[in-house]
Amino acid sequence: MTTAAGESLSAAKRDYSLVGASARAAIETGLASAEWYHTDVPRKVMKDLMQRSDRRPLIDAIIWLGLIALTAAGGVYFWGSWVCVPFFFVYGTLYGSACDARWHECGHGTAFKTRWMNDVIYEIASFMVMRNPVTWRWSHARHHTDTIIVGRDAEIAVMRPPDLLRVAANFVGIYDVYFSLKALLKNAAGIITPEEASFIPEMERGKAVIAARAHIAIYAATIVVALVVRSWLPLMLIGLPRMYGCWHMLLVGLLQHGGLADNVTDHRLNSRTVYMNPASRFIYLNMNYHVEHHMFPMVPYHALPRLHELIKHDLPAPNPSIFHAYREMVPAFLRQLRNEDYFVKRELPPTAKPYREEFHSASATPNAAE
């Protein structure tokens, strides 16, 4: 795969606050709530791709929850000996990493055909990943409206210049858990911050408070049980997996947009598709097809490989492996330490429609290699 370097022209520092200068600029320039590029797909084909079913997600959910139950039982049984370590490694990964993809897919409502099944898994996964299910439903809607638009997107994982210490610490959830618990505690106390208020409608804020109280109550009960039985075991099962098991969520999640362009309205420029091994794809529910997901978020995870085959002629070549993608992303992060306007500009195949350079010229200069 060929990539080129890009460098945006923005002279001002990025302001990632959702109520700051970049947010105002995005609204004024039309970057906010803009019309995005989509590859042409015939309506009948797209309709077929969007069809839901319960069978495949039920099988995946049974495997996921079944493995969680089995590894939890193994971890508890062997607690106190080293034999429990592999059990908790798998348990933690299924709890602290796989939850993210279930939260995401069920939040979109695309996993199951039956609505309540989406809602049940969404609530469970939201708890596991320590996200307020109400707040994050709305923040993710914003992420899809304004993907990697500075000041608008509430879910930009790596801001520029990148804080690599924070990124590394998040492989064991240190920052994320701190900020997640802080946000949940604030919400539980009835506080909705101005940033949250910028994307949660007023009529939904009460629900966010109730959800936060439920989460905090479960964590409090777990801590009480741990104190009563004088053991870390309850916390190894509830809460801590978000730290010791979140490594895979970070490993694949950073690749979604890391090192790519910001403030553009073409997902081919700001999102990355990566071919991955089957285990990662199960944990990640095929979100490695990330350009495809952002372009057509209504397509269920199990149909993304089919969508990829249909539109790959119009997309940058996917990274052939996680390792390959990191070799592209990490040097970009390092360059952004010196020049936060640097980004990786992904080359399109000759069969693709070109990027709308004239549209993006205000924020991106193609091939402006340093």
């Binding site: 069809q51 839901r52 409502g109 709305w138 939904e204 057509f296």
Partner: protein, 103 residues
């Protein structure tokens, strides 16, 4: 009443939706699984996204961008992130055509 011819009855597949623009306004026209025809505003009330690119499931239209759901018969907003109901319009199928009261 301001009935306007919108499309042929076969231009909409069963349990599907199409976009219809008229005098600067955008509408979504639906054909139910029972071959009834309905019309709503064409843009989602959450973000200005064309519902005609969404998915029809029974009486529900799901927005293609954020999966907001409406009952297209009544316009009722069913699930976040949509909170505001969709405006509906009367329709009639006559002589192989679908007419919409855009008044």
């Amino acid at each position: 009443m301001a009935w306007v011819e919108a499309c042929g009855i076969d231009e909409i597949d069963r349990e599907d939706v199409i976009r219809w623009d008229h005098e600067g306004r955008s509408f979504a026209l639906y054909r139910s699984p029972d071959d009834e025809y309905f019309a709503t505003d064409g843009l989602c009330t959450h973000e200005r996204v064309h519902l005609a690119n969404g998915l029809v499931m029974g009486d529900v239209i799901e927005c293609p961008k954020h999966s907001g759901r409406f009952n297209y018969r009544t316009g009722k907003a069913l699930a976040a992130p949509v909170c505001v109901n969709l405006k509906t319009y009367s329709t009639k199928a006559q002589d192989g055509k679908v007419f919409v009261d855009v008044g």
